[in-house]
Amino acid sequence: MSERHPLFLPLVLAGGLTFGFGLGLSGMVRPEVVLAFLQGEDLGLLFVLGGGAAVAGIGFRLLPRLADRAPLTGDAYGRRTKAFDRNVVAGGAVFGAGWGLSGICPGAAYASLGVGNWPVLWALAGMFLGAYAQARLRTFAAPTTTTSTTAD
C-alpha cells in the first residue's frame, strides 16, 4: 500500500465527528426515539434518512463534475452500487428484526456511546458477536480457501 496523504486520517476523523454529531442531533442515538418511529408515534426519523440521503446524493453527483480524482487518494469518484442477490433481502430482514427489537443500528450505537449511553455496550457487543458468527457460518458453508476450515 502506498504512502497516505498526511491529511487522510484527519479528514476521516472530521467526517466521523460530523456524522456522529448529526446522529446525536437527529435522535438516532436514542433507542426510545427509534422505537417510537417504528411504532408510528413520531415519524421524524424519515427526515434523518431522507436528509442524509439527499445530501449524500448531491455530493455524489456534484464532486465527479468538479474534479476527476479525489485529492487525498488520487482515486476516481464512484457510486455505492452493490450487486443484488437474495442475501440483500435475507440480511435486510435479519437486520430489521434486530433494529426493531433494540432500536439501535451500528453508526447510532457508536455515537450513542459518545453521548454516555453506556448500556449501548450490550448492543455493540452483540453486533461484534453477530458479525463474527456470520463470518464463521459463511466460512463453514463456503470456504474461501482450500485449507482446512477447522483452524481459526
Binding site: V55, A56, S102, G116, M127, T145
Partner: protein, 159 residues
C-alpha cells in the same frame, strides 16, 4: 377525512432534518477528499480482523481499510460526545432492557454483514447513489423492523 399531520411529528421535523443533513455532510466530507463512500458497519468486520484469523474477516479490502475505519468510528463516538456536551444537555442512558440491546445487536451485526449494508451504508450512501440494491435493502429492513417493534410492543415488553 382530516389527517392530522402534526400528530405524526410531535417533536417537529427540524432536529431530525438538521441531524440527517449533518450525517450526509459527514459522508460527503470523506468522499470529497478521498473518493471513499463510508458506511458505519464495515467497521465491525474490519476490526474483527485484528483479533481473528477467519478468512472472510481478513479479506484484503478489510485489511486495507481497518485502520481508517477505527478512526472514522472514533470520530462518530467523539461527535456523539460533542453533541452531548453542547446541544444535547449532557449524558443520557437508555431504559431499553439489556437483553433487547444484546439480542437485537446480534441480529443487527449478522444482518448488516449478510445484507451488505446498514442504515448508513444502504440508507444514506446507497439511496444517495440511487442504488436499487440499497433501496430494496432499506424497504426490507424498515418493513421488518416496523413489524418486530409492533410485535414486541404487543407482547407487553416495555421499555
Amino acid at each position: 377525512m382530516a389527517l392530522d399531520v402534526a400528530a405524526l411529528f410531535p417533536n417537529g421535523v427540524l432536529p431530525y432534518a438538521a441531524g440527517g443533513l449533518l450525517v450526509g455532510l459527514g459522508v460527503v466530507v470523506i468522499y470529497a477528499g478521498t473518493g471513499i463512500i463510508a458506511g458505519a458497519s464495515t467497521f465491525l468486520e474490519s476490526t474483527l480482523s485484528y483479533v481473528s484469523g477467519n478468512a472472510r474477516l481478513n479479506r484484503p479490502k478489510y485489511l486495507a481499510s481497518r485502520d481508517w475505519r477505527v478512526v472514522f468510528t472514533l470520530g462518530i463516538v467523539g461527535g456523539g460526545a460533542l453533541y452531548a456536551l453542547t446541544l444535547g444537555g449532557g449524558a443520557w442512558t437508555t431504559e431499553v432492557q439489556p437483553w433487547r440491546l444484546l439480542a437485537g445487536g446480534v441480529l443487527v451485526g449478522a444482518g448488516t454483514r449478510l445484507g451488505k449494508g446498514c442504515t448508513s451504508g444502504h440508507g444514506v450512501c446507497g439511496v444517495g447513489s440511487a442504488s436499487r440494491t440499497s433501496i430494496v435493502g432499506v424497504v426490507t429492513f424498515l418493513a421488518v423492523a416496523v413489524g418486530v417493534a409492533a410485535l414486541v410492543s404487543a407482547l407487553g415488553v416495555t421499555p
